[in-house]
């Protein structure tokens, strides 16, 4: 059931500004792939084009042998998880999950009992079985994320697309959810694409990582390949910088602590 996604030479401009200048990519069926790149590199635009939320000006997207341009948004059946989840705030968690099923055309729509059963099942799957009657505002960030995931899965999507799935979460939850998502993917096996600017996240979670720069895919490969054989100076530099980006922060934090301690001692000494 897992569908391969092929992105061929996609071009997209916003006004005069080219967001994508011929991006190409092949995602195997059942694969978990990260799109990694600095901000402004076109990651999210690429994801939205695969989802059908934006129209490309050139190139095409294929699901197996099917040209996505021939499919309406409804026919594409894409599970899209937005960065800030975009849960329907006035609906209960269960209604959120059921939305995609209820929105189906009458002849394919399951009956209400079946819709409820399936929605509950999906909530169980994301370990939120008891939260069906709550509203999104009553959930934590991590729980909302999982509701969004369950809602996206309800329409039996061809492909799962996640836009900065952990961007809005704090560091601890992020780590937990990362591990959880990886296990979840191994169980369910959807072809999954997610966007991130965080190298750690991409490397820990994904089978393969696509590095995007200025609207082009610079390299696609496993974390090991990217580190050992970067295809361009940009890839090498970007990965190196992401590594280094962590270091100064730790350093300065230590220095700060030391400085504060000294100051504290000085003040309390004089008091």
């Amino acid at each position: 059931m897992s569908v391969a996604v092929t992105v061929e030479n996609i071009k997209k401009e916003f006004g005069q500004y080219p967001a994508l200048r011929g991006a190409s990519l092949k995602v195997h069926g059942g694969e978990l792939m990260a799109i990694l790149g600095p901000s402004g590199s076109g990651k999210t635009t690429l994801l939205r084009i695969v989802a059908g939320l934006e129209q490309p000006e050139g190139g095409r997207v294929m699901f197996d042998d099917l040209d996505a341009a021939t499919l309406s948004l409804r026919e594409r059946r894409i599970g899209f998880v937005f960065q800030h989840y975009a849960l329907f705030r006035h609906m209960t968690v269960l209604d959120n999950v059921a939305f995609g099923l209820r929105a189906q055309p009458r002849h394919t729509r399951p009956d209400p009992v079946e819709i409820k059963r399936r929605s509950l099942e999906l909530l169980e799957l994301v370990q939120l079985g008891e939260f069906g009657n709550r509203y999104p505002a009553q959930l934590s960030g991590g729980q909302r994320q999982r509701v969004a995931l369950a809602r996206a899965l309800a329409i039996k999507p061809r492909v799962l697309l996640l836009d900065e799935p952990f961007g809005a979460l704090d560091a601890k939850v992020r780590k937990e959810l990362r591990r959880w998502l990886r296990e979840f993917h191994d169980q369910t096996g959807h072809t999954t694409l997610f966007v991130t600017h965080d190298q750690d996240e991409a490397f820990e979670l994904a089978d393969r990582v696509a590095v995007l720069n200025e609207g082009r895919v610079e390299q696609v490969g496993s974390p090991r390949v990217l580190t050992n054989n970067p295809a361009s100076s940009f890839v090498a530099k970007f990965l190196e910088e992401s590594d280094l980006a962590m270091a100064p922060r730790v350093l300065s934090a230590e220095r700060y602590n030391r400085a504060t301690k000294v100051r504290l001692r000085g003040v309390s000494g004089s008091a």
């Binding site: 939320l53 409804r74 975009a86 849960l87 329907f88 006035h90 329409i155 309390s268």
Partner: protein, 290 residues
């Protein structure tokens, strides 16, 4: 560790540190002002209306010309509100959810009525549809009455009330963004279903608030309507116009009786408005800045 010990006690500069005398003087001025400008006139309206007792009050309100004016006002307000809901929601939807050229210009146009004197708003329609106006001869030839008739009054009222609903919704919808709609569409919902089940529930309180303000203005509008109505008794007189006519005829009890209804409308609007602002503060605060 002992954070509190180390920090020297900073004396916070407090805003309410004035002398008590100054404080009471300021409060006194404000209260006095409100009494003089708002409360007394309101009391005066009701006092004058009931000066000859409840019987005279009821008589004044059941006068055929007056009931006609009340009916016309309700009708005009109803049409304007419905029109403003339909057009306002569509315009706000277009502005908030799509990118297009001239969007800022459209927003300016929508807000234009706020900065145009109501009399001018009425006059524009007279110049356009009146007997000597641009389209006047053609309308006369086809026996279509706009000025000095219901269509003219409705047009003038819509012009004056147009920004209320639209402006409220544009700001609210822009703040809410398009993600929930995009999500609904990607889940396979039709545009109509997305509007009914996702957009509308999110804007309903803002919409209601806009309708409330729009309705109050529609019923109370004087200037614009005065120009286009022609003030034909029992036919094209709305309540505010009826008040003026009765007053000019020294029929004070009747004039103030009708005025008391308008004052009542204002009080009810105020109460509902306060209730909405208290109950749905978040939803409205987004839209209230115009």
């Amino acid at each position: 560790m002992s954070d509190a010990v180390m920090r020297p006690p900073i004396r916070q500069a407090r805003v309410n540190d004035e002398m008590p005398l100054v404080r009471y003087a300021l409060i006194g001025v404000a209260v006095l002002f409100l009494l003089l400008i708002l409360f007394l006139p309101l009391v005066a309206v009701f006092a004058e209306a009931f000066r000859r007792g409840a019987g005279a009050y009821l008589n004044a309100l059941t006068d055929p010309d007056t009931t006609a004016a009340i009916g016309l006002t309700l009708l005009v307000a109803f049409i304007s509100v419905v029109f403003n809901i339909v057009v306002g929601v569509s315009a706000a939807w277009a502005i908030a959810k799509f990118h297009f050229r001239g969007k800022q210009f459209l927003i300016t146009l929508i807000n234009l009525p706020f900065s145009v004197s109501p009399v001018i708003s009425g006059l524009v329609f007279v110049l356009l549809f009146g007997a000597g106006g641009l389209l006047g001869p053609w309308l006369q030839a086809h026996d279509i009455e706009i000025i000095f008739a219901l269509p003219g009054i409705v047009l003038a009222t819509i012009f004056v009330t147009f920004p209320f609903v639209t402006q409220q919704l544009v700001t609210l919808m822009q703040a809410q963004g398009t993600q929930e709609e995009e999500c609904a569409l990607s889940l396979g919902a039709s545009g109509w279903r997305t509007f009914l089940f996702v957009t509308l529930p999110n804007i309903k309180w803002g919409l209601l608030y806009g309708v409330l303000l729009c309705n109050a203005r529609a019923m109370g509008e004087f200037g614009a309507v005065a120009v286009v109505s022609g003030k034909i008794r029992g036919l094209t007189n709305t309540m505010p116009l009826q008040v003026e006519i009765l007053y000019n005829e020294y029929n004070f009890v009747a004039a103030f009786a009708v005025a008391s209804l308008l004052a009542l409308l204002a009080l009810v609007t105020l109460a509902l408005k306060s209730f909405f602002e208290w109950r749905f503060a978040d939803a409205i605060a987004l839209g209230a800045t115009r």
